[in-house]
Symmetry: C2
Subunit: 340 residues, 2 copies
């Protein structure tokens, strides 16, 4: 029900998804009056779906705390509860981000031992395969051990999303050599040197390494992660607007850009934010994916596919298994540090 286009992007999005994943089954939560007319147009989706009516929904501009109090029976809450009850393997929503995070955390609860869930997403890179980055703003500043947990959550995500056996993990830090970064980042680096991750910790990375594709997973706190994410989105939009303005600025350029049409189309596709849609709320007992509010059908389908990939890789169970090993190691390490 949420996002700028509601069911108008969600149902056609599911139609894209079911072509790639013919065995998928959808539970659709929402207002019958709005959902049914669109669902009727997509018979193949309707056939794979169970529809659950509710006329309650979280508003896009509602404050998370208010949304949480009034959440009972809303489409968002029912969808999350379906995951909690094992009826669904994952929940995807285009709705209010803050409300979704608060509600998912309350209902699904963090995996035992996880200090704080984190928001992760994928970024396009020069190298080709996308970079995964977290935390993008579920938290602000966090301690070193939480950063180590983010590295764990991120590398298991990379395994599921990128299919690499041993993802490389970098810790986002400031550039210069002599300025070794804030205490929590330096302490996390010390821990990561010794801890055994599902991925391979390769050291500090800088802001430009995100789009360079230096590592599979970039780990940061949510303070720097959220600001960096927004800054990257800002430059992307700046570059594309400046580019359009330039090409439309005189008749000869307009003429020229007609010939370069296919090339520009390919570039647009490569940088298309819809191909990178889907913020995943990691560290909960269940998979919860946030689709961008402004996404169309293609964008929404990307978010749903991401949810399917994570479910197929048993993301949650893998984190639970690896957390046990990590906690044992951390306890030893922290004891070691205190004795040293």
């Amino acid at each position: 029900m949420g996002g700028d286009f509601g069911v108008e992007s969600a149902i056609p999005g599911l139609d894209i998804v079911r072509k790639a994943y013919p065995n998928v089954h959808f539970l659709i939560f929402g207002d019958e009056a709005k959902v049914k007319p669109v669902l009727n147009k997509y018979g193949a989706v309707a056939k794979l779906s169970e529809f659950i009516h509710t006329d309650l929904m979280v508003e896009n501009d509602q404050k998370p705390s208010a949304a949480l109090r009034a959440s009972k029976g809303t489409s968002m809450r029912l969808a999350i509860e379906a995951v909690k009850e094992g009826k669904a393997d994952a929940v995807v929503s285009s709705g209010n981000t803050g409300a979704l995070m608060a509600m998912a955390k309350m209902i699904l609860k963090p995996i035992a031992g996880i200090h704080r869930p984190a928001l992760a997403s994928v970024f396009p890179t020069l190298k080709g395969p996308p970079t995964i980055m977290l935390d993008l703003g579920a938290n602000v500043l966090v301690d070193a051990e939480t950063l180590v947990q983010f590295a764990l959550l991120g590398s298991i995500f990379a395994k599921a999303r990128k299919g690499v056996a041993e993802p490389t993990v970098g810790l986002l830090n400031v550039g210069s050599e002599d300025m070794k970064g804030p205490d929590h980042v330096r302490a996390a680096a010390d821990l990561l040197q010794d801890v055994k991750l599902p991925g391979k910790y390769v050291g500090f990375v800088e802001g430009n390494d995100i789009t360079k594709g230096t590592v599979d997973v970039v780990v940061s706190d949510g303070y720097v992660g959220n600001i960096t994410l927004k800054a990257i989105e800002g430059v992307g939009s700046f570059a594309s607007k400046t580019f359009k303005q330039a090409l439309m600025s005189d008749p000869l350029s307009i003429f020229g850009s007609l010939f370069a049409f296919m090339a520009l189309k390919r570039m647009k596709k490569k940088l298309d934010p819809r191909m990178y849609n889907g913020g995943v709320f990691l560290g909960l007992n269940g998979i919860c994916v946030k689709s961008h509010g402004g996404s169309d059908a293609l964008g929404f389908s990307t978010a749903v596919k991401l949810a399917i990939q994570l479910a197929q890789h048993n993301y949650v169970q893998t984190v639970i298994d690896d957390m046990t090993s990590l906690m044992d190691q951390e306890t030893l390490l922290v004891q070691g540090l205190h004795q040293a």
Copy 2:
């Protein structure tokens, strides 16, 4: 002497500067064997210059601490000392950034009351006039009062660079409403509500506001500032490479881009990093500008022009005057907070 091109970019850069500022006078510090041959080719620069020979220089890859210990008599140190002794109004260098910052801090010393000097630079924006941002990495995490001082340093910089009487100042923070950001940022926002700045504090801004041009000055700590700067540089280089690849990918596109040549040239000029060159080390008793190591003559001239603008606006004296007022206000505010 420093940077990738040394005197080969510096002297031709000064030739560009003297055309815009015919009354400028240069002190050139460096190795006679290297400087003189190039200076001989630029008679107009030589006429406006005093040359001071030294065969000692800071290496580009030297650690700042090592550079500092062995700094006596180097071209970098002599140039900074010229500012200290009042022989020069500003120093510009393409050399080792860490060494320059350490040496400038040691010799010029922070202005009385300034907790920590900060690194500032200008960013291109969609709106047109550039945004000034600090701290870009002279520090990592700082306290709230230091952020308030950065706001002061930045708004006086904006007056000099942008010529606006009352620059708008935003505090860089995370996006969502319910996540109000880390403690030091929130405390700085509280202080900025009450403090009288040379500019006007307008509240929190997000990462995408930097290139949007929402405010004249974006204030952050050096941890988030440095990572954001690098991330923005990364996306810029990513976009331009992807764009080039796309246009060169098939014969029709190459043909088309010939017609769009002028438009592409204009765009390149608008985004040209050489037009935004110059990191200024603010808060010292003297003006110190770092030119990017990879800059050519045009880039170097931008950095020198920035130094001249700051000198013409009596940047240091203005900060000294406004600091006195700020410190009085802060003392009252902090006392107020303790009593409340």
